[in-house]
Each structure stands twice: as C-alpha cells, then as structure tokens.
Amino acid sequence: MMSINIVAYKCKKCGRVHFPFHDRCLACKSREFEEIAPKGNAKLLTYTTIFNLPWGFDQRFLIIGIAEFENGVKAMGQVDAQSVEGLKLGMKVRPNWASVRQQHGEDIYGLKFEPIE
Amino acid sequence: MPLDMELEAVLRPPALEMKPYPPKVITLANGKKMVVREAKREEVPTLLEAVHPTLFIPRDFYDIVGARLYAELLAWYRYRVRNEYCLVGQIDGYLVGIVNGRMVDEKVGMSYHTLAIDRGLRIGAHLFAAKMEHHIEYLGQSEVLIVAESPIGFRRWMIEYGLEPTEIQHELGGPDSYRLTREMYFDSKPRLVVGDRPAPRDLLDYALENVFVADEETINVKIAGLKGR
C-alpha cells in the first residue's frame, strides 16, 4: 500500500498543527514549524456526496469528507463508500493514499478515507 | 388519386404488437400535476404543431432534436417507421414534453428523442424516465439503446443512469449506442422514476379531451428566453 504523502506543520512555539502550510502560525505568528506526518486512523468530521461534479470527473457522484488524524492533523479527502447511508459524523476511517482523479491522462494521488466501523 | 394499396403494403412495414403504456400523474416542483400518457397516432398533427417552433431554436441543440422528432412523428403517422410509440406530458392540458422511441425487436428498444417544451421543472428527466419505464416494464424489453445529441442529454442520461457504452450503431446515425439494461433500470428506478397510478380519472379525461399547444412565442421564451435554466 502506498504511504500517505502528506506533510503537516506543527508550530515549534505554540504547538498548533497546520495543514496545509502557512508561512506564519495561525495562532502565534511564529515562523518555525516541525514537519509532521499524519498519524494513525482518522475521525470523520463531516462529509457530503457531490452530485454535480466539475469538469474532469465522469462519475455520477463523489463522496468528500474532512477527517482528523490521531495527532490532530485535519485534512480533506474522498470517502470510499457507495453512499452516505452507512456514514456517521465522528466515525473511524482508515486513510489510504490512492488515485483521486486523472489529469492529462495521469493519476493524481490523494487521501481516500475508508470507513472501518 | 387512387391509392395503390399493393405498393403501399410494401412501403408500410408490418408492426409488432405493443402493450399500452398505462398513464400516470407526476407532481412537479411547483405543485402542478403533469399527466404522462401514450399519444395516439391520430394526435400526431397536434404534436407536430408543438414541435414546430423548436426547429428554429439552436440553443441546447433544440433544432436538431426538434427536426428529427418532427420527422419521426410524421413517419409514424404516415406508416414509414415500425413499432414506434410516443409519450407526452401535459399540464392543464398543455403539451409540455414529448418523448418517443421504437421496438427494434421483442428484446431491444431504440430510444429516439426527448423534447421538453417547458423548462426548469425537470420535465425532460421525468419523461425520459417514463420512456425507459415503458420499454422495460410495459413493452417487456431487456435493453434500450440510447444516444445523446446535446451535452445536457449526455450528462443526464449517460451519467445519471450509469449506461454502458456499446459498439452498436444507433439508428439516429451518430455515435455508437449506450445501453440501459433491465438491471440498471431497476437499480436507478427508486431515484429516477416516479408517478401515481392509476392516474386520477378527472385529470386524465381532461388531458385527453383538451390537448393545448402554447403559441410559438411562449414556446420560444420558455426554451430560449432569458429565464431559461
């Protein structure tokens, strides 16, 4: 399985976790960050099924969500499910690194959350 | 001119027996009731009147769809196409949409056109669904072959129903057909096919007795006007 290719940024001064990158800490303005990797499984914070997809997607719908990893990194990703029926706010999901779309015939990789409850 | 019935018999194709489409009533977003029913062959001249203004509307490929539908309905009326059927949608008697297709044989259906004369109420979506319902549930076919002539149609039919591409030439002469199978139909039925049956008698009688065609300007504005969605 491919590893999660994400770098998050923990403020060296106040500890706030950022993803994506900011030049100054959103809390204390410090410019020093420790690069951290998202850890463990994640908790699904919110989600939706998008039916009117933009140019570049040919499927009927796509489920998108935001999840929080065990070390506080929060990120958006696609949710690997056939419908939102089985999804719940706060449920546990396993992060995978997989193709999320194609551009110019090439796979673009990103986060895919797989429900595990 | 005495009609040469012998020659006419050669030109006029024999037809398969086709089970009727039971009428239904759909409540639209604005609360209005749309009667969906099978048109009779004798009604074709009235239907042509409703289709005619669309021949001159290039927006969203209405002209292509309109011109071809016009010819298909005329062919049905004059017995030059076999096993054709036509379903219409009516609100307060007014024709708001026309869809048609035909049986290629017992098993295979050929979807022709979907024309919404009123827009913004998902009339096209409702009538296309009724057409698939007719092929699969009432004509008892195992598959329907479909192509789209407009980007809107492509997005709606191919993606909404998850149709599968084939290498079968569609009768309209354009690209290869997409296929709707019985299985796909019943999978999408809960979210795409609605309507109350039996259609309330009063609504149905009114629709049968009063087939109105909006005037040309109204049709133009509804399809190609500023407020067109």
Binding site: F19, L45, I50, K74, G110 | V194
Partner: protein, 396 residues
C-alpha cells in the same frame, strides 16, 4: 473621511443572456446607473469593476480598461476587482473608500459576470478554483460540496432540518417571481420539493443534505451604482442613500482549519464593523440582502449578523419572520436563490436592491414599508472573505 452616498443605481435582468457578451452586460448596467444618477453625458472620476471569471471563462483580462473606453469615460481611473463571489462587494468598498478619502467625487462601481457561456460542469469547475489548490481542489470538491459539509454540521449542532431549508427556498422563489430582475421567476411548492414522493426527481440532492432547490442558479447579469459625497448627493433629485457602515473580514482558506466550522467568524466580524460604523444595531435594520447561495447560508447569516440567536434563524424562517411584512424581511428580491448569482455582480446587486428599498420606489408587493435602514452581506469563498454594508435613507 467624507460621508458617501449612492446617487444612481442600474441593473439588468439576470438570467441566461446568450445574446450579450460580458462587456455588454457591464455596459448596460453602467449606463442605467449613470442615467439614474442624472449624469447623462457627464463622466466619473473612477471606475471599479467587480468580476471573478473574465480571465477564466471569457479569456479576457483588464476588463475595467476596456469598459471605460466603451463607455467613453476616458480618462477616468479604472480597475477590475477580483475577490471571488465577493468581487461585487469589494468593488463597492473600493469606490466607497475612494470617495470617502476625498480623492474622487464621482465613482462608478459595476459588477458583472457571464457564466452561462460554458457548460454547467465547466462553470462548476470555474467556481471551484477558489478552493485550496493543493488540499481541496484536486479532490473534486465544489462550492455546493463545501456547503453540504457545512450544512451537515449545522443540522447536527442546531437541529436545522430540510423543512427549515425548504421554507427559505419557497420564500425566495415566491419573491423572485415578483422581481423582474430575477433569473428564476417561478414559485415552488412544499409538496413538489419536499413532501411528495415525486420530489426525489424534482429536487434531487446536489450535495447532501442540500438539494437542488437549496442552491442558487448559475446566471449571467450585471449591476451598477454611482457613488458621490453625501453633500453633493443631497442636491440631486432622488432620496440619497448613505453608505452608513461597512465591514470586511477574512477567515481560514480551508474549512478544516476552523476551530468550529459552523462559526462563520468573518460574517459576524464584517457585520459588527458595519453596525459600529453606522452606529446602528441589528434591530434597527428594516430590510436585508443576505448571501443565500444556499438556503442554509441565509439562515446561518441571519444568526451571525445578529438578527437571531444561534440556532433560532431556522425557526424564525419557518415561522415567516423573515418574509416581507415579518420581523426582518430578508431577500425580498428573491436573493441569490431566485435573482441568480452572477458571481461578480452579486455584491453590487444587493446594494442596488437595498437602494430601491430605501428610496421606497418598489411596487407594493415588494416594498418593505417605510424602510430606513438596510443591510447587505456578500459572502466570498466559503466564508473566507465577507463584506457587509449598512445603508441608510437620508432626508433631503
């Protein structure tokens, strides 16, 4: 700082304007505003054009330079203001500050967008370009998608239901049906979009729990205002409308980095600043144009600007408190939901509508009787850049 008033407004009907180019739309609205201000063949000192998509959709840039030339406003200063769906509001703000500073006396602000030039999915992609290019956009997220995720949390936290959202949709489409400028001139029924089993086709989900009739249409359109110092405005024929307050605030680009994603901080802050500058309270407002790109946003904004407590906006909407004749009429124009949302035009169109209201020149079925103070909220990104204006009718 000088007091700044609106002396002229102009708007063209929103919808699908296949015959007109983006420049046509901007020019038509501008001419109407110039005429309304009584400037006729006179010029202005500066022009601010609110537009988001010219570069992407029309493949055209430097739109303001082109517009002043077309309108024979040379050598007026001119620039295009791009700030996502808040481009219109930002253009008004730039005009306001330019006149308030004393640098310019007459300013034309015009917002416009032509979105129907491309297919729906290309328009959706265009709007999605305001999401984060690395951690949001690649996933296929759209603005309705952002709103769907927000709605799910708002429903969970405050008990908002589809019934509440439907009440907003019905109200705004009913009002749009009375507004000749509105894109959607059709009333809808609760039966057709919620109660009937047929509603699954009429009103399918677009980004659950949001459905088709919770979302604004994709529109073409333009709106314009002419600003000048209040002292000059007082000498004109029409009741001057003072821009009494203004506020603008930003929030994190991504939804995921907000401590409480249901808290639209930029809306609260922008409104607070606008009220403080105007020395008014939410209760002093008689009519409001809120940015209802989605029904949930009208409810959430009505709470964040202070008309209702958190969690009570939905109840108020269902109870009819936000209708014409209610406690605080919201989106009497039909809002973005029915008037349409040509992104760059919206912020200006909201100010135009409130000006109509405060001049008391609308027909009875649209006029908030005796309205003196109005509020607009123009919501950019998904709440990451928000502008608010408080407008006040001034006695001549």
């Amino acid at each position: 700082m000088r007091d700044v008033a609106i002396i002229g407004v102009g708007m063209i009907p929103f919808g699908r304007r296949d015959e007109d180019s983006l420049m046509d739309l901007l020019a038509y609205a501008s001419l109407k505003a110039l005429d309304d201000a009584g400037l006729g063949d006179k010029s202005v000192n500066a022009v601010y054009v609110g537009n988001m998509g010219g570069g992407i959709i029309q493949h055209q840039t430097a739109i303001a330079s082109s517009l002043v030339d077309r309108l024979s406003l040379l050598p007026a200063a001119a620039e295009t203001v791009e700030n996502g769906p808040a481009s219109g509001g930002s253009a008004v703000k730039n005009g306001l500050l330019a006149v308030a500073s004393g640098y310019y006396d007459y300013v034309l602000v015009v917002g416009g967008e032509k979105m129907r030039e491309v297919t729906g999915w290309k328009a959706t992609d265009f709007v999605s370009t305001m999401t984060h290019p690395e951690v949001e956009y690649p996933y296929g997220v759209t603005l309705p998608g952002m709103a769907g995720m927000f709605t799910r949390l708002y429903m969970e936290k405050y008990g908002v239901t589809r019934e509440h959202l439907t009440a907003v949709a019905i109200k705004n489409q009913d009002m749009g049906a009375l507004n000749p400028y509105a894109h959607v001139e059709m009333s809808i029924s609760r039966e057709g979009i919620l109660d009937s089993p047929h509603s699954v086709v009429n009103n399918p989900p677009v980004a659950d729990p949001l459905h088709l009739y919770d979302a604004c249409p994709v529109s073409d359109g333009a709106a314009a205002v002419i600003l000048c110092p209040l002292e000059i405005a007082k000498k004109t024929g029409k009741p001057p409308v003072l821009i009494a307050g203004f506020g603008q605030a930003t929030d994190t680009h991504t939804l995921q980095e907000r401590d409480d994603p249901t808290d639209l901080k930029a809306v609260s802050l922008a409104a607070k600043q606008a009220f403080e500058m105007a020395k008014l309270k939410p209760a002093d407002i008689h009519v409001a144009e809120l940015h209802d790109a989605f029904t949930i946003l009208e409810i959430a904004e009505s709470e964040h600007v202070g008309f209702f407590k958190k969690g009570e906006g939905a109840i108020a909407a269902l109870a009819g408190k936000t209708k014409l004749g209610g406690q605080i009429p919201i989106n009497v124009s039909g809002g973005l939901k029915a008037r349409g949302h040509p992104v760059g035009a919206t912020g200006v169109a909201q100010v135009v509508e409130i000006t109509f209201q405060l001049r008391h020149e609308l027909p009875k079925n649209r006029q908030v009787k005796g309205a003196e103070n109005g509020l607009t909220v123009n919501f950019g990104g998904f709440g990451n850049n928000v502008l608010a204006f408080v407008l006040r009718r001034v006695q001549q």
